[in-house]
């Protein structure tokens, strides 16, 4: 194993209990998992993370603040020299909780805002969710915590970006992460909601334009790892600093990134499909054993261009990109190695007068981090694209094979 590789950035699902039942939730959050780690067990995990030189831990859920030991775990991470941050829907973040989080040592919080109020509330299946998210941002800001936001872009909210930016700027965010909704969990049940690959031809230039606006406004806009790839805007999008020449480096799962599920399952990235990518449980093995010895965490360390297929195998960027975001590709086809959610790929097809359409084929299982299956159909660029009206975009298109644990549909 390359000794330099270690879990520097960890995303830790403290609990799957949630005060939302979002229609795009990849983990189908709502109720807690059976056998979630106790606070005592979680503090042992903190020690293991410190021993493996974790630099930052993003606490998530469900909603991390619904775990009884949330503040204790935040403080333990801080005391261990690990930077504790959080991603949240924010509904339960009161001014008092925000101050407590600051005292415990939380160092940044990103609140998910999935569009302007009508679209956000529709996606999050809860009236008042948007206002709750903005209230959380203000409470966190007033408590002295640096605030950020993130959005999952899909066909429900893609028109909101520019106006939403103004709303978030006014609230005072310092950073904004933009990614796309992947067909994972509840989003897999709603194929009408998803972007089509050619939608990136419109989306990427708009995000690039927003990024330019963000620099003088003091807002750092960054693409999530499943938004990309390459094209003329890549350096602008992917660089943290203005004028930088960074580019996508490929999936970092199991290299410098790790995900922990609330019952102790460990995988190379928090979004990866549990069934295929959990390398072990912290109740049965040490973190180091899972990181160093499990094949599931090593998949991105070992593969080569020979592991790619389809368009990605022949792509000019194959060796660097390696098929983009692993969980997104796996969510579509049940394996990594070919990923149509790619800006460069959409541009190549557009030059040929065609585009790739994702068509739903098989339903998902109905379990956290599950997925269905899609197929690609190539069609002329000017083929009809009948987009369902607003509310139909979030209607279940394919019932999961097993009942969901919690739903508010």
């Amino acid at each position: 194993m390359n000794e330099a590789l270690h879990p520097a950035y960890v995303v830790w699902e403290l609990t799957l209990a949630c005060d939302h039942a979002c229609r795009h939730c990849g983990s189908r959050a709502g109720g807690a998992r059976n056998g979630e780690l106790t606070t005592t067990e979680a503090l042992d995990v903190v020690s293991e993370l410190a021993e493996m030189q974790a630099r930052e831990v993003v606490l998530i859920g469900g909603e991390a603040y619904l775990h009884d030991g949330f503040l204790t775990i935040v403080a333990a991470l801080r005391d261990a020299g690990i930077r504790p941050t959080m991603t949240t829907g924010g509904l339960g973040i009161t001014p008092e909780l925000a101050r407590a989080m600051k005292s415990a040592g939380i160092q940044m919080v990103s609140v998910s805002v999935d569009g302007l109020e009508p679209q956000h509330d529709r996606i999050r299946a809860r009236t008042g969710s948007f206002l709750g998210a903005l209230s959380a941002l203000r409470s966190l800001r007033d408590a002295g915590i640096p605030i950020a936001s993130n959005i999952n872009v899909n066909r429900v909210n893609r028109g909101d970006l520019e106006e939403l930016y103004e709303v978030l700027l006014e609230v005072g965010i310092s950073a904004w992460q933009i990614q796309i909704t992947a067909p994972l969990g509840r989003a897999a049940d709603r194929p009408e909601m998803l972007l089509q690959p050619w939608d990136l031809l419109d989306l990427i230039p708009r995000v690039a334009a927003l990024k330019k606006r963000g620099y003088p406004d003091g807002v750092r806009i960054m693409p999530g790892n499943n938004l990309g790839y390459f094209g003329p805007e890549e350096a602008l999008l992917r660089s943290y600093h203005e004028g930088g020449r960074d580019h996508f480096q490929g999936c970092q799962a199991g290299k410098f990134v790790m995900g922990i599920e609330s019952h102790g399952a460990v995988k190379g990235c928090p979004s990866l499909q549990s069934a295929a990518y959990v390398g072990g449980s912290l109740r049965e093995k040490t973190l180091r054993e899972i990181w160093e010895e499990s094949d599931e965490l090593a998949f991105a360390r070992k593969r080569t261009v020979a592991d790619l297929h389809g368009f990605c195998r022949e792509c000019a960027y194959a060796e660097t990109c390696m098929g983009g975001c692993s969980f997104t590709a796996h969510a579509l086809f049940g394996r990594t190695g070919d990923n149509p959610y790619c800006y460069h790929r959409a541009r190549v097809h557009a030059k040929r007068g065609v585009r790739e359409r994702l068509v739903a084929r098989d339903a998902a299982d109905g379990r956290p981090f599950d997925h269905g299956l899609f197929e690609i159909r190539v069609e002329p660029s000017d083929a009809p694209d009948v987009v369902a009206p607003g509310r139909d975009l979030i209607r279940i298109g394919r019932k999961p094979k097993q009942p969901e644990r919690a739903t508010r549909d």
């Binding site: 998910s112 950073a175 693409p223 790892n225 390459f230 020449r245 480096q249 990235c269």
Partner: protein
């Protein structure tokens, strides 16, 4: 990867995959994608996974000449370059009159007597 002088795209070989411009030695501008440099706390191009990750805020100083106190932080992440114990990610005990974490108060907002 090289940088295309025509369209600014990245060029893995000699022909720009975006515009077809042929890169010769005279036109090549080689740039290196940054990789995680954890050992020295350098800058990184990694952003965290979709939906869960923060936009990676790169606090570690990319300009060593600006990190006068050698604590690894600079510019907006370090309000006092004469003291390595003071930076935005330090703990801040209230009552000592020092804003150790650069948030404008001694301790944390809401603590008694937090104006340094």
């Amino acid at each position: 990867m090289k940088s295309c002088p025509s369209c600014e795209s990245f060029v893995p070989a000699t022909i720009c995959p975006e515009c077809g411009h042929v890169i010769t030695k005279s036109t090549a501008k080689r740039v290196f994608g940054r990789v995680l440099n954890v050992a020295v706390g350098g800058a990184t191009a990694i952003t965290l996974a979709a939906c869960y990750g923060l936009p990676y805020e790169d606090p570690f100083c990319s300009d060593p000449s600006a990190d006068l106190d050698g604590d690894g932080y600079c510019f907006e992440f370090d309000c006092d370059e004469s003291d390595p114990a003071i930076h935005r990610f330090a703990s801040d005990e209230a009552g000592d009159g020092v804003d150790t974490n650069c948030d404008g108060v001694d301790g944390y907002p809401g603590d008694a007597g937090t104006t340094p």
